[in-house]
């Protein structure tokens, strides 16, 4: 009897624990997204916000520069306290950070990820909070709508932007007898340059990333350049299209006919960039902001870095855009969101409106070894951007004269949005396609695209 009753007791305990667990979980179902309208915000109330991307102590100059700007902001807005954190965006930690309530109030997120966050409703709707912002009225329309949700609400503010382009090593071009100031402008010319580099230098002519969704990311970019998108306007999959087949055929020719793509075809972002910065690779398709990663981060000679507009086929649609978007914690209070928007305006946009702020920022960037004047898509209007360039002309430490073709055409190449919804999953479905073409000489491109079409369609169906 006692044993039975102890079993009953244990059963009751488990039931009680499960009930408690369920009660604990049901509290999750409460929607704790702030509902208060922006008009009800008390902007005079003391508020504390946290921000991401404080440089670590390894980079003390940049860290000090950012903290100095936090001090300046707090002096200007005494009711707002800013806590700078070293948190940076990573896909691995973001969900846990959000679940644990540890997401900074303001966080910088890459373009490639922001669409997924918006789809999952994991960033705050800031539409009402920036409606009256004078600064943000000057945003470049070409990038301004990159953080809108399906209903047209604003879920983030672009703070940097770049197009995908053809990145090339100017020193290797010279060694191969090519003119680094006249980079390839068609895919045939890219192929010829790759062969020349392969034949006349120790480096490999061309490379492409293939793992961690980067293969799909670049293939999507190439498909745009060859003239088609991967998702139709009606939301159906369009992977099995002529443009993507042409892009894969380009890879196939370089790999198997020209032998100009090296021997390793399992490359992620780090692998490809390390090889390029080390002078082992002539060209690859990557973001124009790669200057920072290759030169500032990996120590490549600034004069060796070249960037050209992404070559466009006769019916090319444009190029994929990248960059960063400042987003706000979805659990932030209306006062915190208002303060967050004020910080974003101050930190990211003040330099375009105030000469002193521009010069101070450029001065500290140069002192910290950062790049000033990088090849990019302007995030503000053309007038504001040109004016800023004039203000900081003495501090520009990027050899912009090397990017003449890119800079003179960056406004002309249309920026095409990433496939949505579930862009990252679509990229993941395309990685194996790129790998197949590069690792198997008998890979059947039509069949690979047919299979990928079905996979991507199931991804799109699941996202509905």
């Amino acid at each position: 009897m006692r044993r039975t009753s102890s079993r009953v007791g244990a059963g009751a305990a488990v039931t009680a624990a499960t009930a408690l667990l369920l009660i604990g979980c049901t509290s999750d179902t409460a929607d704790n997204t702030p509902e208060a309208p922006a008009g009800a915000v008390d902007t005079d109330a003391p508020v504390t916000i946290s921000i991401s991307d404080l440089p670590t102590t390894e980079n003390q100059e940049s860290r000090d520069a950012m903290l100095a700007r936090v001090d300046a902001f707090e002096e200007l807005y005494p009711d707002i306290t800013v806590e700078a954190t070293e948190t940076v965006w990573t896909a691995d930690t973001f969900q846990a950070m959000l679940a644990g309530g540890a997401m900074p109030t303001v966080m910088s997120v890459p373009f490639t990820e922001v669409a997924s966050l918006i789809e999952r409703d994991q960033v705050a709707d800031i539409t009402d909070y920036i409606a009256d912002s004078e600064v943000l009225a000057h945003l470049n329309p070409a990038v301004a709508d990159h953080a809108l949700d399906a209903d047209g609400n604003i879920r983030g503010i672009p703070i940097s932007a770049y197009p995908m382009g053809l990145i090339y090593n100017r020193a290797l071009f010279e060694q191969a007898g090519l003119d680094p100031d006249d980079p390839p402008q068609t895919w045939d010319e890219v192929r010829e340059a790759a062969i020349a580099i392969e034949e006349n230098t120790d480096a490999q002519g061309f490379q492409t990333m293939t793992t961690d969704n980067t293969g799909g990311w670049v293939l999507t970019t190439m498909s745009y350049a060859f003239g088609d998108t991967l998702v139709n306007e009606d939301g159906t999959a369009n992977v099995d299209n002529e443009a993507t087949a042409q892009a894969l055929e380009f890879y196939r020719s370089l790999r198997w006919d020209d032998n100009a793509m090296g021997s390793n075809f399992l490359l992620n972002y780090g692998d490809a960039n390390n090889a390029f910065a080390a002078g082992q690779v002539g060209m690859f398709v990557q973001g124009a902001d790669q200057y920072w990663y290759a030169v500032v981060n990996l120590g490549m000679d600034p004069d060796d870095f070249g960037v050209a507009p992404l070559p466009q086929d006769s019916d090319g649609l444009g190029t994929l855009g990248g960059g960063n978007v400042a987003v706000v914690d979805p659990a932030a209070s209306p006062e915190e969101i208002a303060a967050a928007v004020t910080w974003i305006e101050f930190f990211y946009f003040n330099r375009f409106l105030d000469e002193e702020a521009a010069v101070t920022r450029a001065e500290s960037d140069v002192a910290a070894g950062e790049a000033v004047g990088m090849p990019e898509i302007r995030i503000v209007g053309a007038d504001e951007y040109e004016r800023w360039l004039g203000w900081v002309a003495d501090y520009v430490n990027v050899p912009r004269e090397n990017f003449e073709l890119f800079l003179s055409t960056v406004e002309d190449v249309p920026i095409v949005d990433e496939p949505a919804p579930s862009g990252q999953e679509i990229y993941a479905a395309l990685d194996p396609v790129v790998q197949a073409v590069l690792t198997r000489q008998d890979a059947d491109i039509d069949q690979l695209l047919g299979d990928a079409q079905a996979t991507v369609q199931s991804v799109l169906d699941a996202a509905e």
Partner: protein, 314 residues
Amino acid sequence: MALARSTDTGTVASAPATRRRMTPAVWARRGGLSTLAFGLPMVLVFALFSWWPILRSVVMSLQQTNFIVTEWVGVENFARVMADPLLGRAAWNTVQFTLWSVAIGFPTPILLAVFIAELRRTRAFASVLAYLPVIVPPVVAVLLWKNFYQPGDSGLFNTVLGWFGAGPLAWLNNGDLAIPSIIVEATWAGFGTATVIYLATLMTIRTELYEAAEIDGASILSRFWHITLPQMRGTLLIMFLLQVIGVFQLFTEPYIMTGGGPENRTVTVLMLIYRYAFVSGDYGRATALSLCLAAALAVLSAVYLWATRRWSQS
């Protein structure tokens, strides 16, 4: 079984009588409080970091959550996992990893332990050497091996093959070679621990058995087969099970070395779970597949223990 267990010891038989007289005061006087004080921290740590996450996973597998809003979706996450065309590929890859691991990784430390046990003066030194790879941090080891497997002429293994006029091989870039290549690395990184455990077991085998066998004229091979292996069976059974469970949860090596490529040939079930959680942000599906994996391992372990019960008891 039940009869055997109840008559195992007299203390068990007399337990109900003792329990009847037990009051809180008696329990406390007999050291119950100190037992509780000693046990409680461990129970709390386990509860917080093991049992709670497991329970939470069960709950989350029935939900769809963005960590802001959560809704109950029943078994929909399980249905979506089962409908994923990549699941079959990942499961088959995982089985292949396991088979290769059993073929390469299981016998290696046994043979090495037997060899080291035969050494007299240099046994300790050999043990240290065998254990050395375990000390190398896993990510460092994996990155080293990734370099060794470079598919060009300059890769370490291809250079060695070149000396013999062979190769170069594509190694990780080749769908057929990628899994065995990864298993060789995993074996190198993990055999030290298993070797030390087997060595400890070998040291407990009474030397009289070998002496008697030698007098009877048994060869080295038959001594190994008829004495060493049977004497090690308990350890072997557990180590085999642990190895299979470990390989079923393989993640770091394929994640770093191949990212699941080429053509998803090295995607494991755990990598799929990782993709669900961190690429798609779909924790419901990730926890659903985690539970399926846990269930599969539980069934596999039960079947294994049932199938080997006679050997483990004899």
